[in-house]
Subunit: 231 residues, 2 copies
DNA sequence: TCAAAAGTGTTCTTATTACACCCATGG
DNA sequence: CCATGGGTGTAATAAGAACACTTTTGA
């Protein structure tokens, strides 16, 4: 970590689990940095660092993420706080973790600080991470899968205009399952949250699909009424 | 708080939201202490205190709860971490909060430490609390209501042998709603998690109800298969 | 003309809701 | 004998699951 750990006190840090999903890609990715500093020098880790005394922890998470990876203006949701005595080799560090799901192609990565590298890595290929970050990642993945069934996470992962097949494959990738095409369409359209456009895909070597966009106003209304997005 | 706040560092505390439900009682309660110390001297607050450097935060929550209220051996679940700069008047304190739902009559309250009193208070009557504890309480209540629909919280709130009406009124109280008696029974019995006993209530001035107990083995199995307790 | 994905309905099964009367017990 | 809560079934509706062929497009 960039700030020094004080062995005489409980230090507090934030760590961010940024999931990435791009259309055309088949798997879910996570943003990792390579550490240019001890401990775990040269190993991959979640972006994270100590909280400053004069910043709210939510703001701290945003700052740390920006400083290490260049990602800015991301909606982070709090995940869990990990506080075991032994989780950091240099002292006592309680970490508040956050997660988000974004579209990698919307952002440029710019590693700096003690991050010598910032990269998207496929979830399925990750075997180990610095500290207890692998455990944090697993916790985040479980939460994401649970959450996406009830909340329209994912609206920000598609282009403004998208096809129903794109939407379906987004859900299939994140939930790691398959849906019946007709049933998926029936359900998603019955929610009345998509606006069909008088536009079609162009330049595809097959029948062009109709494009849709999200009806945010309608969605917000349904949310407040306790609407359920389950599939 | 009992330990002194150090203004030069970020202090870390735990706070516990202990919900209480007793049969025969119509409303949901929460365990509060009266503070015998500044700040907020004499005001009601959630039991909470600073974390020691040599204890895990989960263990810290248990210890603090025990020291202030006498409650021991309670399964606490982490709720959320509140870390705004301004949340504590004497310095920077990030608090990790926990919650649980228990049956008050199973425990004796024994206030000590800086708690001059420890009491069960009806949720609906609480207007204000020390620090940001009212907000913490609201967050916990939302979480509890969400959670009880998918998890069998509540098994520990009833006597070992209970009637279906007791179970129903437990759910109705916590979710603040009403269920149709026949539909409730049909659904709960179809889950196959209750064992009907060859025993009846005694001493009631009406037809005696059959008693049931939970089939924990069966429940654990269903849990791992992704079972859903929704009502 | 072929390959590739788009688009479209029906049937069957299962879950959810609404609803009202008789039963057993103790006071 | 009455007040109190216990106990029971059915019909209607809604939601979910399974399933296969025709259409459009560009290469």
């Amino acid at each position: 970590m960039a700030n020094p750990i004080d062995r005489s006190i409980i230090n507090i840090s934030v760590d961010c689990v940024i999931f990435g999903f791009d259309e055309n890609e088949i798997d879910l990715k996570v943003l990792l940095i390579e550490r240019g500093e001890e401990p775990f020098f040269g190993q991959m880790a979640l972006p994270g660092d100590l909280v400053n005394i004069d910043e709210n922890i939510d703001e701290s998470a945003k700052r740390v993420l920006r400083e290490l990876t260049g990602l800015d203006d991301i909606f982070l949701e709090q995940l869990f706080t990990f506080g075991n005595i032994t989780r950091h080799p240099l002292g006592r560090v309680v970490t508040v973790t956050y997660y988000a799901l974004i579209k990698p192609s919307d952002f440029d990565l710019l590693p700096s600080g003690f991050a010598t590298m910032a990269e998207w890595r496929s979830i399925s290929e990750i075997r180990e991470l610095a500290f207890d970050h692998f455990k944090i990642l697993s916790t985040a993945l479980t939460r994401l899968k649970g959450k996406i069934r009830y909340q329209p996470i994912g609206f920000n992962l598609l282009p403004e205009k998208f096809t129903l097949t794109q939407l379906q494959s987004l859900y299939e990738t994140i939930l790691d399952t398959d849906f019946d095409k007709r049933n998926f369409r029936k359900k998603i359209l019955s929610m009345d949250m998509l606006i069909p456009l008088n536009e079609k895909q162009k330049g595809v070597a097959h029948r062009a699909a109709r494009l849709y966009k999200f009806d945010m106003e309608r969605y917000d209304k349904l949310q407040t009424l306790g609407f359920n997005f389950a599939l």
